[in-house]
Symmetry: C2
């Protein structure tokens, strides 16, 4: 099935998920939408995030996608079930795959989660871990400074190492043996984090785990692309911010070319306006 | 005249301006509105920032304000003239006062400006300086990491000193003798910045300069409050984020108490909906 896999995020952090999809499913076609004009989602209300998620999905549906990946932690935490209920294709977010991998990886059932302030305060990782393994202890740590550090590209810097050390100290004191990277920006600094916390703690890249889940479900559903030619990857964004290519390339791991800007307001008008979540799930 | 001075900002950074107003105009009544539910403004379109500015001003008008201070760099850069045209009270933003003070302070006419990425890329400080003194050279430096550093309260930290040093190095190479703090968060770390760049460079706190302009204009217009009792200060916000009191207290310089949450959607509905900018200024 040549139809592409659709991926959306509130911005370009989701490109770390695309990087893993390209690595793990090299023959699939992908189409990415980054809602750069309306980011961040994390500080928005649940109702508004659901509306945005439906609109992002509607944009991707134009490409006949066969699978939808919600590569955004905020949208994953509130909108995946609703999207699954309203679309006729399989949908996955990034939270459950990361959580399942962490539960599998931990020996002492002490799991740390790092993310933006919005993600950690939303408690989405904590709740999902407790749902799947009530005996696990979960320690969340908001790391807001790491996001601009990654976007600035201050990767090989003492500032970044000191910041990671300071943020992770309370988690280390709680004796975690597994750490979920609960922000799509953090795989960019995975190595630095691993160096700071030592090799005995397992890092879980939610994006990588999500790509593995997609591969599994595509196989089960028998909707994989039957070709040995590398898939095509298309990028759409609702705004092209400064340094977009530079930051995008850092996230994707290879040059990000040909990202197209979408006039999202016009797209919505052409469909008849905002797409509100159905009341029963709002 | 007992009527209060109104101040609005996209969030709580504007509290550093309130701090200066309290210091410089201790007998005036103040009413502050922080639009914490819709922040940041900097990444929004000019049209939307104008709409928000009109709505924030309309909220403050309910208190019979005699003066409006736009304590938000993004709104100051696009909405001050429009607000002045549509309101019957004097209006000032934070940009022009900061710029006038910098032009007065510089000897070598080499002025640096630091702010958020949105503020620096908007070129508002650069344009205003060039308008008032075309012979000045202006060097802008976005400092996005300083905002979460201040919000986290990492003030006496090596990380903060290293970050300031790294951001300011290109400005120092350009031999600036005056530096405008073009973000309402930065007065919180003014001392650390001064220590890093050395005492020979003059720091301009836009908030302080704005408070001085307000005092001057209130005097000229003869609308000052005729009382020797300290004025009342009221705080309203459209959302109360976590750590609001802690961060607010850091910005204000003394305990922030009794901030009230406003249901801003309902306020707008009660007025008949969004307040769009008049076409001739949009």
């Amino acid at each position: 099935m040549d139809n592409p896999i659709g991926i959306f995020d509130s911005g370009i952090g989701g490109l770390t998920v695309v990087k893993q999809l390209i690595r793990i499913l090299p023959f699939e076609n992908l189409v990415y939408f980054g809602d750069t004009a309306r980011l961040p989602y994390g500080t928005k209300s649940e109702k508004l995030i659901k509306q945005y998620a439906l609109e992002d999905a509607a944009f991707l549906e134009q490409f006949g996608i066969k699978f939808l990946v919600v590569a955004c932690n905020s949208a994953s935490s509130v909108a995946v079930d609703m999207l699954q209920a309203s679309l006729n294709i399989p949908v996955t977010g990034v939270i459950e795959p990361g959580v399942r991998a962490a539960i599998k990886a931990t020996n002492n059932r002490r799991i740390g989660v790092i993310g933006t302030t919005a993600t950690i305060l939303s408690d989405a990782y904590h709740q999902k871990i407790k749902e799947l393994d009530p005996d696990s202890e979960v320690y969340g740590q908001p790391c807001p400074i790491l996001v601009p550090l990654v976007e600035e590209g201050w990767l090989d810097e003492e500032i970044t190492r000191l910041t990671i050390r300071k943020y992770l100290a309370p988690l280390m004191e709680n004796d975690i043996d597994t750490l979920i990277l609960g922000c799509t920006h953090f795989p960019v600094i995975e190595e630095i984090i691993q160096n700071e916390i030592g090799g005995q703690i397992k890092l879980i890249d939610s994006g990588e785990e999500t790509a593995l889940v997609v591969r599994e479900r595509i196989k089960t559903l028998e909707i994989g692309r039957n070709s040995l030619e590398r898939g095509e990857v298309q990028f759409y964004v609702s705004d092209i911010p400064k340094k977009f290519d530079e930051i995008g390339t850092r996230f994707l791991g290879h040059p990000l070319v040909n990202a197209k800007r979408v006039d999202f307001d016009n797209f919505l008008i052409s469909r008849g306006g905002a797409i509100h979540a159905p009341l029963e799930t709002a």
